[in-house]
């Protein structure tokens, strides 16, 4: 499997008035051609920042302070802006969370799709328009010619997100980074969008990073999963492996938090404590204060190691019975 993206030791820090926030603090992963990797974590875990770092869209007061990002073998971390611009929307596309905010409300849909093509290729408008129309058809939008003439606010949320997906695929990128694309949508629409995305990636062989806080979304979609907490990856492996047999207490907690029919009538499970304050992380394991399996060893910072066929950052891997989602 050829690696489309290789990230190693990525560190993106924000230098604010109130102190330095290590939003991403040493992240490694690889995404191969045709593979979907789920990047899972709660708000503030650094997963979105990871996505933006790959595209070089980190604005001051943040910057990539360390690490390497290799795209198709070439190093692109802190690459010159021109190089990054030629990659963005072209070889690496991004889908954002809320399409109402990301589509410009005063420009028509066709304008916003055609410009994505024309920025990278020297074709005439008519060709670009036809490609846009076809792309909309591919994501299951009926009457694409009419939709092209519309303004974003005239479309429903699900429709707008389909437009965003279509736009992402327009230039046949090698990698798509989807940052919580279904979070802002209804559950039923979510399922449709996930289905469309899956169909397209299988068809085109595009690699995808699907960023989300919702495990249920990732379970059916991804091939591999990386779980992030407080800027670091705490568990990483094949999707079935990790979901059936989670080793990190946080992953266990995440899976346990998913309400299922089997446990009806029982108390809802929660991970104790609150999301970490990134300005004041504890010494040692960041998850420590909330961890049920905490031991004295955990006052040291755990390193990520190979355990049982996956990567794990924990002193006390959990042995649990097989969980069912």
């Amino acid at each position: 499997m050829t690696a489309v993206l290789e990230v190693s030791g990525l560190k993106t820090h924000f230098f604010t008035h109130a102190g330095a926030v290590k939003a991403v603090d040493g992240v490694d992963f690889t995404v191969s051609k045709g593979e979907v990797m789920g990047l899972v974590g709660e708000s503030g875990s650094g997963k979105s920042i990871t996505g933006f770092s790959i595209l070089g869209l980190i604005d001051p007061p943040g910057r990539i302070v360390d690490g390497s990002i290799r795209f198709n073998g070439d190093e692109i971390a802190n690459a010159p802006e021109e190089r990054l611009k030629s990659l963005r929307g072209n070889r690496i596309s991004m889908i954002f969370q809320d399409p109402m905010m990301t589509l410009n409300p005063v420009l028509r849909v066709d304008t916003q799709m055609i410009e994505a093509i024309l920025a990278h290729e020297n074709v005439n408008r008519q060709t670009a328009w036809e490609r846009s129309r076809d792309a909309l058809g591919l994501v299951g939008i009926p009457s694409p010619e009419e939709r092209l003439q519309a303004y974003p606010h005239q479309l429903s949320g699900g429709m707008r997100q389909r437009v965003a997906i279509a736009t992402a695929f327009l230039n046949q990128p090698d990698l798509i980074i989807a940052d919580e694309p279904t979070t802002a949508l209804d559950v039923t629409i979510q399922a449709q969008i996930i289905h469309e995305a899956q169909k397209l990636t299988k068809r085109t062989g595009t690699a995808m990073i699907w960023i989300t806080h919702d495990l249920a979304v990732v379970a059916g979609l991804a091939d591999r999963i990386s779980v992030m907490y407080a800027g670091r990856i705490v568990e990483q492996g094949g999707i079935d492996d990790v979901i059936d047999r989670p080793l990190h207490p946080y992953t266990v907690g995440l899976l346990g938090s998913v309400p299922t029919a089997n446990r009806r009538g029982q108390r809802l499970f929660q991970i104790e404590g609150m999301t970490p304050n990134m300005f004041a992380l504890p010494e040692g394991c960041a998850f420590g204060p909330r961890c049920q399996a905490r031991t004295a060893a955990c006052s040291e910072q755990p390193q990520i190691k190979d355990v049982d066929g996956r990567r794990l950052r924990c002193f006390n891997p959990q042995r649990t019975e097989e969980t069912t989602l």
């Binding site: 609150m274 004041a280 504890p282």
Partner: protein, 307 residues
Amino acid sequence: MTDTVTDHSLTPTKSPKVETPFQRFRAEFFESRIATAALGIFLVIVLLAILAPWITPQNPYDLGQVSVMDGRLPPGSEAFDGYTMWLGSDGSGRDLYSAILYGLRISLTVGLASGVIALLIGMVIGLVAAYAGGRTEAFIMRIVDLQLSFPASLVALMMVAALGKGVDKIILALVIAQWAYYARTVRATALVERGKEYVEAAQCLGISRPRIVFRHILPNCMAPLIVVGTVQTASAISLEATLSFLGVGLPQTEPSIGVLIANGFEYMLSGRYWISVFPGVALLLTVVSINLVGDHLRDVLNPRLKK
């Protein structure tokens, strides 16, 4: 309910700095050297104006002290009574330094008084509109919008045309010209706050409307009101000067800065520039310093621009 917070799990080893909002505001404000300097200059001006009777060699309103023999003397000359006129004298023999300080008193008084009164009236009307809601609110806001579509200078001009000259009439005119800005600010805040969910929550809990208005809307609109207030005060001072300059503002017997400048206009072309320029500089310093402070206040108090 579940206790999600258990003692042993939460304490991080470093606790973040805790400071009150006011301390933070003060620190942020004084970060700007320009604004701090402007504030300083304004306070000095106010001080000078208050102390005018004690620090000037001449009371320019006391005709007994003013002699036309002293008129039109350049800066640094000696007056009849023996004191030095550092800034020269005007056409009627008034020492410009004294005249400016006395004039500042009037200008500042008129500007601040009309600003404060307009603020109070505008705030009350805005709150009434926010409290009453419905058609009353719509009606009041229509009037506000109507008035706001006319420039303040025109409104003030019309008012003085109708009311005539005099300090109290000028203040009244300025108040009428300005109250609408404050009313709109208050109502805009009310709109924003009303849209927030905590108001809905409060209403669900059965909290009465006046309480919502006073406990929630009022504190939130203080910040923008202060910003609008500073800028409006500067504009009021400027407006009064303009009206006086045009001859429809304060009368000659109570010369504000604007009147002084108007008096000096005729001497401009003959080279006796100081009669208009020095009062003009005084006016400038006052208005610019207030605006600089107000501008910086706006940046500091604006939540959207916070890093």
